[in-house]
Structure formats: structure tokens, C-alpha cells
């Protein structure tokens, strides 16, 4: 599935749909979700006080361990034993450095250059084995949080009764100012199924 291969916003008045398409696309770019969403369909019905947003996500990455983003070697620098960390995937640098600071303290973590981090520790070999498999990031979890954020930010103001589900790659969100009717959620589910088959 290509990123945002379907991106459609419907409203009874075309100009209002356009505004919401612009708002949603701005929020997608703010939250850096463009590469994660495959298809998205939203309907805005102000007179019925209804807002639906359904999306099909692209492949979700599994949890990221320390060894997935860098290679770990023991060494000796500045008169001390160290773990030499060579970064292979910069995308998770914030999570990796936060993890190292929390584990070894800021004073023992030295970023020598963009691609290399030294960690001063007494038993580097044992420490490497200990931290190798620790998970530092869970893209699925942060994606879920970001999708909810996307929905909440794009919803018209005052639509504070909200319902959302995220089942694997399927995301569904319904919001209104009034109590939600069960059939609204059913309608959104039909929208989601249509989106999956591409019948939008």
C-alpha cells in the first residue's frame, strides 16, 4: 500500500470538505504520519453534529530493541573500559540516548560524533549482553497515540463525545456533540470496510 493512496474528506458543502482536508493534511504532516497511513476517509456533517474518520495503516513496525538500531562493541578509551556504540539507524536516536542516560547516567554517556557513542562502564562485555535485547521504542504504540491525536485535533470544536478503535491496521473514530448513536458507529464500520476494498 502506498502512503496516502486514498485521502478523501466528504461534507455536504464542498468548500467545507476542502477546509477539513487541508486541516487534516496539516495535522498529518505535523505528526509525521504521512508514511504510516495508507488510506484515509473522513466525513464531516456539521448539521447532524457528526464527524467520522477511518484509516487503514501501512505495515506497522514491531518493537525496536537496542541491537536493531546500533552495533555494540567493547573497547578502551581515555583510560577507561567502554561500550562503543555505532549507530546504524538514526531514527531512534532520541529513544536510545534517553535509555542510555537513564541506565548509566548522563556523565557516563559521551556522544563522540554523529554516529558513535561511548558508554563508560566497568564490565562492558557483560553490559552489552544485558542491554542488547532491551526494547527502546514501540512504533505501534506511538502510532496508536498519534492516530488518536490526529483524530482529536481534526475534530470540529465542541465535538467532545468520542469513540475510537484501533484493531491491527484499522483505525476508526467517531465524534459528536450529542450522545453517539450505535448506528453512527456501524456507518463508520461500513466506511472502513469500503475503504479497505477501495470503494470510496
Amino acid at each position: 500500500m502506498e502512503p496516502l493512496e486514498i485521502f478523501k474528506v466528504d461534507s455536504p458543502i464542498d468548500s467545507e470538505a476542502e477546509v477539513y482536508k487541508k486541516v487534516i493534511s496539516d495535522i498529518i504532516s505535523d505528526l509525521r504520519l504521512a508514511s504510516s497511513i495508507g488510506r484515509l476517509h473522513s466525513t464531516v456533517l456539521p448539521e447532524e453534529s457528526r464527524f467520522d474518520l477511518v484509516a487503514v495503516l501501512r505495515d506497522i513496525e514491531s518493537a525496536i530493541a537496542v541491537e536493531d538500531v546500533c552495533s555494540l562493541n567493547s573497547g578502551f578509551e581515555k583510560g577507561k573500559d567502554i561500550i562503543r556504540i555505532s549507530i546504524e539507524n538514526e531514527k531512534y536516536m532520541p529513544e536510545l540516548t534517553t535509555f542510555l542516560w537513564d541506565t548509566y547516567g548522563k556523565i557516563n554517556v559521551l556522544q563522540n560524533d554523529r554516529w558513535t557513542i561511548y558508554v563508560f562502564t566497568e564490565e562492558p562485555e557483560a553490559e552489552i549482553e544485558k542491554i542488547r535485547g532491551i526494547f527502546i521504542a514501540d512504533p505501534a504504540k506511538s502510532l496508536h497515540a498519534n492516530m488518536v491525536e490526529l483524530a482529536i485535533r481534526s475534530v470540529p470544536e465542541g465535538f467532545r463525545v468520542r469513540y475510537h478503535t484501533m484493531d491491527g491496521r484499522d483505525f476508526l473514530f467517531v465524534a459528536s456533540e450529542d450522545p453517539l448513536e450505535p448506528e453512527w458507529i456501524e456507518d463508520a464500520e461500513i466506511m472502513l470496510n469500503n475503504l479497505k476494498t477501495g470503494e470510496v
Partner: protein, 312 residues
């Protein structure tokens, strides 16, 4: 013949700008605001219409310029239904910022319970606060139905002219109950208003608000305030030196029929009431001096000539 005062902005170098101030005072004008930035000076002023060319000519000799600033002396409340991200910082802040270009002083007001369609309402404190201003600009959203049928409830109890901004470009003020002016293409936005379409809409807004302000001034000229608000401002500045120590932005704000003095009411109201003009009239004789809803500041509402019976 009665003197007609008009608002202008002087922009030029700091060098010899004292001479400009002296000339303005000599021709009977008033400086409303002066901002010095490094070697440049911007001065908002009110001038007798027929004297403007004199200042303009003198400004040219100092390589400065005199520009009309139609909203100087007007205090505008920019009201958004809430302070949520749907309205702030875009588009309500952009609207307020743009209104300041032609000289208006703006106050941003977010209503406590203005959100939504069914539940939107304003409360008494908010109404009174908004009514202290000269014009209220309501920065609303993009839904036609909301603008026409739901949000006008927010205008209840507002006695000053109402300007509404919203998304649809084919609506007029006639479609929105109680609105005096409607400006389209300024609905919900999640990015700064800097595209040509947005800037055009903001220009149209400034133009229409300026027209509204001109009309208000003309109406006011039929029964003018007993004393020119700019003169009251100058006298307060001279006789109550504590104003200069107020840390509030623009310690005195000029309004169409009064002045907002940003000093605590309880401590300084008597001093303001005792301000005296050279004709021997005290400020309390020609104006109502009341506690403002804004931070307990002092609000000077000048009474009209018809009520006092004379004009100074």
C-alpha cells in the same frame, strides 16, 4: 467650523523627531503612542484634518513619512469561541495581529463556554468586558450552518458593532443575525495565514473594519464627546505621572469615546477623577470613571456634549 480630527502614523528617524512632536502640538494634534526602535521612531497621532499637510511637508524634510492609520484610537476585542487549538494561534491571533497594522489596539478574548453548536453561550462578565471595547471581531469557523444559525447566540447582549470572520466567501452580513460586517475566507486554519488568499482576506478585513470605524466616527461627530479622548489622555499623562510606571502594554489605551488607564482602580481612581483641564473643568465633571472588567483597570467614559451641555 468644527475641527475634524484624523488618525495618522509618523514613521521616520529618531534624529530631530522632537521637532515633529513640537509641531504636532503646535497645530493642535495629540501623540497617542510613541515607539522607538533603535534609530527609528513610530508615532501614532490624532491631527486636525487641515493641518496634516503641514506635518507631512515637515516630515519630508526629515526623510520621514506620514501615513493614514484609520484604526488608531479604536480598541477592538477579538473574540474566539474558545482558546482551543481550533482558533488559536491561527486564525484568531493572525486576525488580531493584522488589525494592529492600521493602528488598532486589540484585546484577545476566549469565551469560557463558546465551543460547539448546541451548548455555545457567553456569560455576563464576558459580555460586559466585550462591551467596553469599540468594535468586537468574532473569529468563527468554517461551517455555514454554524455561522448562520448557531453562533449568533454568542452575540446576545453585545451592544457594540459586531464584525464576524468565517470560512464561506459567499455569505454577507445580512445572512448572519446581528452582525454588522462579515468577512469570508478566514475560517478554521491549522497553519499561519500567509498565503496570498489569506492575506487578501485580511486586507479586505482591515478595509471593512476601517470603513466601519469611519462610519462610527461620523456618527459620533453628530454628538461628540464633551472633550477629545486624546486630550484626556494627554492630561492624565501630565497630571498622573504613575501612568508612566505601569508595566501593562500601552499603559493608556485610547478609545473612541474614552480612555482605558491601566492602573489599579482602588488606588488611583480619585487621582484620575481630579485631573483638571485649563478651562477649570475636572475630568469627573465630563466623564464617568468606572472600574474596568479588565484587571480592575480604570475606564474613563467621556460623556457626550448633549449630556454635559458644553464642549471643551
Amino acid at each position: 467650523m468644527k475641527t475634524v480630527y484624523e488618525p495618522y502614523l509618523y514613521n521616520g528617524g529618531v534624529y530631530k523627531h522632537g521637532q515633529v512632536i513640537e509641531l504636532i502640538e503646535d497645530v493642535g494634534g495629540f501623540i497617542v503612542n510613541k515607539v522607538v526602535t533603535v534609530a527609528e521612531v513610530d508615532m501614532d497621532m490624532i491631527l486636525p484634518r487641515e493641518e496634516a499637510p503641514v506635518i507631512e511637508k515637515f516630515a519630508e524634510t526629515l526623510l520621514g513619512k506620514l501615513i493614514k492609520s484609520p484604526l488608531t484610537g479604536i480598541e477592538i476585542a477579538v473574540v474566539s469561541p474558545t482558546l482551543a487549538s481550533h482558533h488559536l494561534p491561527h486564525s484568531a491571533c493572525d486576525i488580531a495581529e493584522y488589525l494592529r497594522h492600521p493602528g488598532a489596539k486589540t484585546t484577545m478574548i476566549g469565551l469560557a463556554r463558546g465551543m460547539g453548536r448546541r451548548v455555545a453561550l457567553n456569560d455576563d462578565f464576558e459580555r460586559r468586558l466585550i462591551n467596553e471595547h469599540d468594535i468586537a471581531v468574532f473569529a468563527l469557523g468554517s461551517f455555514r450552518d454554524c455561522l448562520m444559525n448557531k453562533k449568533p447566540r454568542l452575540f446576545e447582549g453585545i451592544e457594540i458593532p459586531i464584525v464576524v470572520t468565517g470560512g464561506p466567501d459567499d455569505l454577507t452580513e445580512k445572512d448572519i443575525p446581528r452582525a454588522d460586517v462579515y468577512i469570508g475566507n478566514l475560517g478554521r486554519s491549522s497553519s499561519r495565514l500567509r498565503k496570498p488568499g489569506d492575506i487578501n482576506a485580511l486586507d479586505v478585513m482591515n478595509e471593512k473594519v476601517s470603513e466601519l470605524a469611519d462610519k462610527m466616527r461620523e456618527d459620533l461627530a453628530k454628538d461628540p464627546p464633551a472633550v477629545l479622548p486624546a486630550r484626556v489622555m494627554k492630561e492624565i499623562e501630565n497630571q498622573v505621572p504613575e501612568v508612566a510606571e505601569s508595566l501593562a502594554p500601552s499603559a493608556m489605551t485610547l478609545k473612541l469615546t474614552g480612555v482605558r488607564v491601566k492602573l489599579p482602580y482602588d488606588k488611583y481612581a480619585d487621582k484620575i477623577k481630579d485631573v483638571e483641564f485649563e478651562e477649570g473643568v475636572k475630568l469627573t465633571d465630563v466623564a464617568d470613571i468606572v472600574k474596568s472588567k479588565m484587571n480592575d483597570y480604570i475606564l474613563v467614559n467621556i460623556k457626550p456634549k448633549s449630556e454635559i451641555g458644553f464642549e471643551i
